[in-house]
C-alpha cells in the first residue's frame, strides 16, 4: 500500500467563479423550464409556405435588374430634379405673365423654351428656399414611384400580391440603404 501521509489533503478541485452563488438560481430555472415544457412543450409551432426552402434563393442578389435600377437611382433623381426645375420655371413664367398656364402651352411654346429660360433669370421674386423644398419633395416622390412601378412591372420573381407588397415594403424600408449595396451589385 502506497504511503499517503505526505500528500496534501486540501481540495485541489475548483469551480467557476460565483458558481455556488448562482447555483440556486440555476436549479430554479431548470425546474421552471421543465414545468413549462411539460405544460406548453417546446415544439416549433411555426410553419413555412410549401416548398419554401426548396425554392429559396437570395433574390436581393440575384435580381440583377434591380441592381441596375439601384445604380441608376442617383441619376434618375438628378434627371427628375432638372425636369422639375424646368417645370417650375414654366409655371412661374406663365403666372407672372398672367396669360397662360402650363396646360395651355402648345408646340410653338415648347420650341420657344429657350426664350423663356432666358427670361426666367430676370425674375427676382421667386422664393428659392420654397422651390428647393418642392424640388426635394418631387425628387423623393418621383424616385419612389419609379421604383415601385419598376418592381411591379419588371420583376420576374413577383408572382402574387403578398410578394408585391413585400417588394414594395422593401423599397420603402431600404431606400436609404441602396448605396451600401452598389459595390456588390456592380460585381454581378
Amino acid at each position: 500500500m502506497a504511503k499517503l501521509t505526505g500528500i496534501n489533503k486540501n481540495n485541489s478541485f475548483g469551480v467557476p467563479e460565483n458558481y455556488f452563488e448562482s447555483l440556486t438560481d440555476q436549479i430554479q430555472t431548470r425546474i421552471s423550464e421543465e414545468k413549462l415544457k411539460e405544460e406548453y412543450g417546446n415544439e416549433n409551432p411555426f410553419i413555412v409556405p410549401e416548398n419554401y426552402f426548396r425554392n429559396f434563393s437570395v433574390k436581393k442578389i440575384n435580381n440583377k435588374l434591380t441592381g441596375v435600377i439601384q445604380m441608376l437611382k442617383p441619376y434618375l433623381s438628378i434627371a427628375a430634379g432638372i425636369i422639375l426645375v424646368l417645370g417650375i420655371w414654366q409655371i412661374t413664367l406663365s403666372v407672372l405673365d398672367g396669360k397662360k398656364t402650363i396646360t395651355e402651352f402648345n408646340d410653338s411654346d415648347f420650341y420657344d423654351q429657350d426664350i423663356q429660360y432666358a427670361e426666367i433669370f430676370d425674375f427676382s421674386d421667386v422664393d428659392s428656399a420654397e422651390m428647393e423644398i418642392e424640388i426635394a419633395d418631387y425628387i423623393e416622390d418621383t424616385d419612389a414611384n419609379s421604383l415601385i412601378e419598376y418592381t411591379y412591372d419588371e420583376s420576374d420573381e413577383i408572382t402574387n400580391n403578398t410578394e408585391q407588397e413585400a417588394a414594395y415594403e422593401y423599397f420603402i424600408d431600404y431606400s436609404d440603404d441602396y448605396s451600401d449595396y452598389e459595390d456588390i451589385l456592380a460585381e454581378i
Binding site: S32, G41, F46, V58, Y181, D183, I184
Partner: protein, 186 residues
Amino acid sequence: MNQNMNSTNTESQISHLLKEKDITSAFNQIVEEYKERLYWHIRKIVLIHEDADDVLQNTFLKVWRYLENFKGDSKIYTWLFRIATNESITFINKKKKKAEDSFEIYEDYLSNTLQSDEYFNGDKAQLILQKAVLNLPEKQRIVFNMKYFDEIKYKDMAEVLNVTVGSLKASYHHAVKKVEKFVKTH
C-alpha cells in the same frame, strides 16, 4: 430539437473554398447549408414568415458582401448567426419605430397577427407561450428562444451573441421567471 450549430465538415469545406478565393461556391454552400437554421433563428425573433424571409435575404446579402473579407477568426456558423441576430434586431427596431410613429405598439401588432397567421400552427397553449415570449425584452427573448426551443448550449450561444456564459444564464433565468409569471396570469 437539439440543433448542432456547427458542422465541422461543412465548416472545413467552406473554409477551403474561401482559401481558394472561390467566393461564389462558398456562398452557395453557405446558403444551402444554413438557410433553414438561420431562417428558424430569425423567425423566432420576428415571428411573421414574410418578415423572416426579408431578414433572411438581408442576412445573406450581408454575408455575400463581407464573405471575401471573412478572416476565419470565428467559426462560420458563429459569424452567420451573429449577422442574422443583428439583422433581426435592426429589423425589429425599424418596425418598432414605424409603429411608434403611428402611436401603435409593435408587440401588440405581432401578438394580434400571430393569432390569425396562417403559418402559425400552434394550439392555444403554444400561443400563450409565444405571447409570453413576445413580452420579454428583446435580448432575453433571443436567449430564451435559443435555449428553450433550440436547446443550444450556453457556450455556443455565448460565441454567437458575444456575451459571457454567466450573463446568458442570468438572462435566461430572468426570462424563464417572466414567462412563467405571464402564463400563470393568462
